[in-house]
Symmetry: C2
Subunit: 86 residues, 2 copies
């Protein structure tokens, strides 16, 4: 909840497949880029979650976003993630 001690803070969680995990979507994109004449490329596809939370400060927001990533947004077996706060 927003009260006198919190403010709305924007951040993002970027979720990527771990190195070594086959990225089928990335391979498909690399193939399509090749078909368009872009030459050899290496592509890996991830997701970015732009999230606004109510938190006391940037450090508290970072903790919340990290917990969201751990509990919901990333699959720890196959993915790793990065948290940034504005």
């Amino acid at each position: 909840m927003t009260d006198a001690t919190t403010r709305r803070i924007s951040g993002r969680v970027t979720v990527r497949l771990r190195p070594g995990v086959l990225d089928v979507q990335g391979q498909a994109v690399a193939g399509a880029l090749g078909d368009l004449g872009f030459g050899p490329t290496r592509v890996r596809v991830g997701k970015v979650f732009e999230i606004e939370v109510d938190a006391a400060d940037a450090d508290a927001a970072r903790v919340r976003l990290t917990e969201m990533a751990t509990r919901l947004l990333a699959n720890p077996v196959m993915e790793d993630f990065e948290v940034e706060v504005d």
Copy 2:
């Protein structure tokens, strides 16, 4: 192709739904975060393409990634994109 005048350069294209376009996936994630007790959040979901290209320098790589985004990676009606080069 890689030759004496090019090197492998890494960058990324982040594709997001334009403001005002309904983000059903983001709403679903926000709902799931609420169910987990995270309180009200606003979530928008995008894609990040991590791409390695052969280019003469960072400026040339940025031009290539921008062309890839325009021609394949982003749907200009519903999405906008951002290009970064390492």
